[in-house]
Structure formats: structure tokens, C-alpha cells
Subunit: 222 residues, 2 copies
DNA sequence: CTGCAGATTGACTAGTCAGTCAATCGCTGG
DNA sequence: CCAGCGATTGACTGACTAGTCAATCTGCAG
């Protein structure tokens, strides 16, 4: 038992870690189970000794990580801090998660949280818990009066989470710069953007009727 | 020729429209070309008469629709309107696009804009154009002083677009309500949330040090 | 009526790959 | 030294499906 931890590496863990790298590099659908086995340095069949299917590997990766995030958000919410600081902590946690293991966060975002026809639907309840946890932070801010009452907490939470996930997507796709300073700066900027707003308080002008003179024409011609 | 438009339906268009429904229902990777042919009511081989591959169908759908969006954003930006109204128009256009053809927008978001290992990478240049077009609107607002200079336009654009895409994702996953009033309300709310911010101007408190007392611990234990 | 050209058909091929399984390995206790 | 058992191996199978292609159809021009 004790020897197993010193001499024999944890093959199951090795397979999971290899899967993260392979899924991130090639995508879940564009890699073979043999790619994961090769990356882990184990035989093909061993993957099926520890997991019942290729899907189960991804499910395991997602659930492990997502639970850590849910726990973190719950803990942040339980602290006695201003709402903006709580949201700053949530943003910081997610961004640090990406810095710490970009491959894993890439896999989770690309293959699960946005995959409406496969793993996203499967884990919808778990994903929703994150939205609800953020909404809870916003809701208490609304109740204490620091956040606008006109924006529903559920709606605000989606905007906040969406902004963060879009930043990760920008880093994943390499359309946003990825220096340490960029990651650190993003934590404050995203909170300032969503909580404080893009408009400059000194100069902000509220449009009395945002619809005036503007017609949406989404339909394709023809 | 004239008869072709009255009697013979445009089979190519029928295949594209059928593909939207099938891709939205089953996902690109979980459907067969025969599913698309059946849905369109044409023979399997005809799909390959009009398209060189299954991929080309999705590429066509994406490029058609994305170009319409790029044109719309460009046109909105060219108008002489306050920045907030321009962003309201962009949000309205994207949300109306979803209302008009939710299946197509679902396919575009799920299979392309978030698919970092397949179509997303292929169309990265096109996707980036949308970010840049939104950033251009923000940038002029910064220059005229109505938007904060401390938030880079490129960064603000990602937050804005991410919030909108998250709303669509919420509708796609059915975690947000989808009445006509919800769609209409979302147009104003998303602009109010991002431009005006979540915080109530009357009560807003700027945390002098958002980091105080908060430690990010993204690493998995063990 | 005839023949061409493009549209349409669907059976077939060729390749892929998730998952199985019987054999082997290596440790541990008797 | 042996028996037993979980860990490990990798060749193999069964199922699936993207893409091909030769045959057929249809409309029209000569």
C-alpha cells in the first residue's frame, strides 16, 4: 500500500492527466483512446480497467474540477465582505484556475460548459449551480442596496460569468495577450467593467430611449 | 430557369436549412450526413453534389450568418449615435438573430465560436473581426470620454460580447426564461449591466484594495 | 424524336475506432 | 515454492459512417 504510492505511480491519475493534455490539444472528438493511453505511457486496455468509457474520463475531469470551483464560490460567499470583493474573488479564482491548468480549463469550457448537445446537457445541473452561486452573491448585494435592483441577480450572474468565460476563451484562442500582468490585470478589470460599468461616471449619459432611431434587422436577405 | 424557382425548390438551400435543424438537435459530431439528407428529403448522394464534405456545410452556414452580423455591426458603428446606443443596437441585433433562428445561432455558438479545436480555429479570423468591430465602438467612446479610459477597448469588447453570448447560451440550455418580454428586456438589461454597471451609483462603494483578505486557491488539493 | 447536361439516386467501399478479452505479469501471503 | 488476485497488455472485433460512383432521371435544345 505505502509502496504503491512511492514506487508505482498512480496509473489512474496518470491517465486523467494525459487525457487533459490530449483533449486540450486535439479535442475530445478528434482524439483516440489510444492517444490518451500513449500519452500516459500505459497500454490501451488499462484505460478500460480504470474507466468504463472514453466519456467517463471527461466526466471525471469535469466533475472533479467543477466541484472545487463550486466549493470555492460557496466559501467566498460565506465570508463577510462587500459584494464587489466577493465577485473579485470569484473572478480571481477562475482566472487563477486557468493560469494553474490552462489545458484543464480549456477542456472544461470547450467540451462541457458550451457543449449543449453532449456533455453540457449531461452536467447541466452542476453548471447551473455555479450560476446560482454567483447569483446569490449578486442578490445579497441587491438586498443591501449596493447593486441596482433593476437588474435581476440571475441575469447579472450570467453576464458576469459570461464575461469571465469569454476572457478565458480569448486566452484559449490566443486573441488576448497572456502575460502574468495580463492575467492579474484582468481580475480587477473584469470586476470594474461589470460592477462599475464601462461608462465613465463623470461623463456618463443615460439614453432616455435606447431604441430611438435604431432598427434591428437580423433576418437574412432572401 | 423561372420554372426552377416555382416548381423545383432550391435543393441546396433545403440541405442547408435541414442541416441547421439536425446540427442543432443532435450536434455536428453526433449526426450523420444521412440524417441531414433525410431531414431535407433528398437522397444521400445529393448532399455531395452541392457540398464537398460534411464540414463544408457547417462552414457555409457559419460564414453566411457571420458576414451578415459583421455587416450589421459595421453599419451600426458608421451611424452618428452615442456609443451606448450603438452597443444597444449590436446587442439587439444578436439577440434578434437568436429569436429569428435559434437553431442557427445555437449551431454557430456551440459548434464554431467556442470550438477551439475544430471550426473555431478555422474561422478565428472571422470571429476576431466581430471582437474588433465591437472594440472599435468602445474605443471611440473612450476617445470622446464617455467610457472609462482605464478599461482597454479590446478587453471591454470581450466582456460585452461574452455577456451576450452567455445569455444566448442560457437560452439554448434553457436555464434562462425565453418569453418575448425576456428577449426584449435582455437587450436593455445587458447594456445597462455592462455600460452602466451592476452597482447602484447612489450607493456604490469602491473597494480601495479588492485583494484585501482574499486568497485565491485554484489548485486542486492533493 | 434524339441526345446532351446537369440533377438525383442509393448501394457500396474503405477506413476508423470504441470497447472486449484472453493471456501475462508481479506482488503477497501461506 | 506455489496459489491467488489485481494490474497490465495489446491484438482483435463489431459497429459505424464519410465519401464515391455508376446508373437513372428530367428538362430542354436542335
Amino acid at each position: 500500500m505505502a509502496a504503491a504510492q512511492k514506487d508505482a505511480p498512480d496509473k489512474r491519475r496518470m491517465i486523467l492527466d494525459a487525457a487533459v493534455r490530449v483533449f486540450a490539444r486535439q479535442g475530445f472528438h478528434h482524439c483516440r483512446v489510444s492517444d490518451v493511453a500513449d500519452e500516459a505511457g500505459v497500454a490501451y486496455g488499462l484505460v478500460y480497467h480504470y474507466f468504463n468509457s472514453k466519456d467517463e474520463i471527461l466526466n471525471t475531469l469535469f466533475l472533479e474540477r467543477w466541484q472545487i470551483m463550486l466549493d470555492a464560490i460557496g466559501e467566498i460567499d460565506a465570508r463577510d465582505l462587500p459584494s464587489r470583493v466577493k465577485l473579485r474573488s470569484v473572478a480571481g479564482f477562475i482566472i487563477d484556475s486557468y493560469r494553474h491548468d490552462p489545458d484543464l480549463m480549456k477542456v472544461i469550457i470547450v467540451e462541457v460548459t458550451r457543449a449543449a448537445n453532449s456533455f453540457g446537457a449531461l452536467h447541466l445541473d452542476e453548471i447551473r449551480k455555479a450560476y446560482e452561486a454567483i447569483a446569490a452573491i449578486v442578490e445579497s448585494a441587491r438586498e443591501e442596496g449596493s447593486f441596482k435592483s433593476g437588474i435581476p441577480a440571475e441575469f447579472a450572474a450570467m453576464c458576469f460569468y459570461g464575461a469571465i468565460e469569454q476572457l478565458l476563451t480569448g486566452w484559449i484562442f490566443e486573441v488576448l495577450p497572456r502575460s502574468d500582468a495580463d492575467f492579474e490585470g484582468a481580475k480587477d478589470l473584469v470586476v470594474e467593467a461589470i460592477c462599475g460599468g464601462l461608462e465613465d461616471g463623470e461623463h456618463a449619459v443615460r439614453a432616455s430611449d435606447p431604441n430611438s432611431g435604431v432598427t434591428s434587422r437580423p433576418a437574412a436577405s432572401g
